[in-house]
Subunit: 258 residues, 2 copies
């Protein structure tokens, strides 16, 4: 039986540590193929490049692994692989990451890592986004490796529900080993912004976005933030239907007739 | 009673026709305040500016209306207005658009217009994204005006369900007047990409993203594409919980224990 073809991308860019760990793990399981942004794309959300050109070039950094760097976004990478570079082959799996920083709770909608995975789900390809809850420069990714193996093998064997991508977050490395894996839901929370207002040398204002995460449901244990805080790997199945079905009936009572 | 404070933004940039139409309509209803990108942001998805600075400057183009142009994304504009420019006031409504091109079906996840509206919903502010299903350069926005008035007044009077933003799409102007308003859901469909591969003057490859929309459920009449195709205004209530609750139980049968 031929090896599964695995497309690897990310949003931190092709030179980041997280993608090299992911490539090492995917080489053990299948045929790795890399198409990743040529520079960091953090916070890109589900951006795509519609009004300018997309450039790719072969990258030598992963040796014998077919590797390309791309001027586009993570979602662009998936589209370009599916419809151009690998259009004559079947991609068995798309993996994105490992993101240097968590993508739990609301981060999923800002995340370039997850936009690649969701784009793959839209294209009908099983997909997983991996993120590590550790923003430190020298973050250790090694404790995630055995879980990546398990999750990817399970996905290749069992598939993923249609129109769904998995949002996998690993806790930062702690003295105790990871306790296990929890299937969770997106925590109800948000980022409370505080802008750092400065003046440029010409006296013109500019801002740095900062702030912290606010958990609106700290009492609940079935969500992704709880899992990470308690040293579990979190897996949230994500879809891309933004319709709020509960709100539909409420709006139908509105008076909007001519 | 004081007039409602209405923040107006978009993704086509502050000089676009759609935002000027929206400002004219909002002036009739409340106090208009404009903070919009200084250049086009189409296809930006829910991008935010986390790794660079955000610059704003006052814009003279809307006369007495307080107007600022911003180097950031549509979602940045909402965050910056809420937490910096208008931090001492209550924003009663955020409106985004009118986008020059439709944001129905899956377009909602690529749309900068809707990312601004969803960002506002996250911040607890009622929000509406408006888009016109007409990509032509000289698209006419006037037939949308009476519906904008109705919808905005209804929202200011009745509010919007919590954690929900409205995705409003108008049909392109036709000989017959618009038939009415339909509360709909996001159509199951996708964009089928075709990349136009070219060579630059140095022989290096580059690509233009193109392609067309594929409707996976053309037989159904309760969705936003059907409404637009049949000359109705479509309103989809959108949330931002990406969890696929149906998939949760299925994944819980997986074998991922240590």
């Amino acid at each position: 039986m031929s090896k599964p073809l695995i497309l690897i991308t990310n949003d931190d860019g092709i030179t980041s540590k997280g993608i090299s760990v992911l490539i090492e793990e995917m080489k053990k399981i299948g045929e790795a193929y890399v198409l990743a942004p040529d520079s960091p794309n953090s916070g890109m959300g589900h951006a795509i490049t519609v009004d300018s050109t997309i450039h790719i070039k072969k990258s030598p950094i992963f040796g014998e692994i077919a590797s390309y760097e791309c001027s586009g976004t993570p979602a662009d990478c998936v589209k370009l692989a599916k419809h151009e570079l690998l259009k004559d082959r079947k991609i068995d799996l798309v993996v994105s990451g490992i993101n240097h920083g968590m993508n739990a709770s609301l981060s999923v909608i800002y995340s370039g890592t997850m936009s690649a995975a969701i784009e793959a789900a839209i294209e009908g390809i099983p997909a997983i986004g991996f993120s590590l809850n550790d923003f430190r420069y020298d973050a250790d990714f090694d404790h995630a490796r055995p879980f990546i193996q398990k999750i990817v093998k399970e996905v290749l064997e069992k598939g993923i529900p249609k129109n769904v991508a998995l949002n996998v977050n690993f806790p930062a490395r702690q003295d105790e080993p990871i306790k296990g894996v929890k299937i969770t839901r997106q925590t109800n929370g948000f980022w409370k912004e505080e802008f750092d207002a400065r003046k440029d040398p010409h006296g013109r204002p500019y801002f740095w976005m900062g702030g912290g995460f606010v958990n609106r449901e700290p009492e609940n244990q079935d969500n992704d933030i709880w899992a990470l805080d308690n040293n579990y790997v979190s897996i949230v199945p994500c879809h891309y239907d933004m319709t709020d079905y509960n709100a539909l009936s409420q709006l139908k009572d509105w008076n909007l007739s001519n």
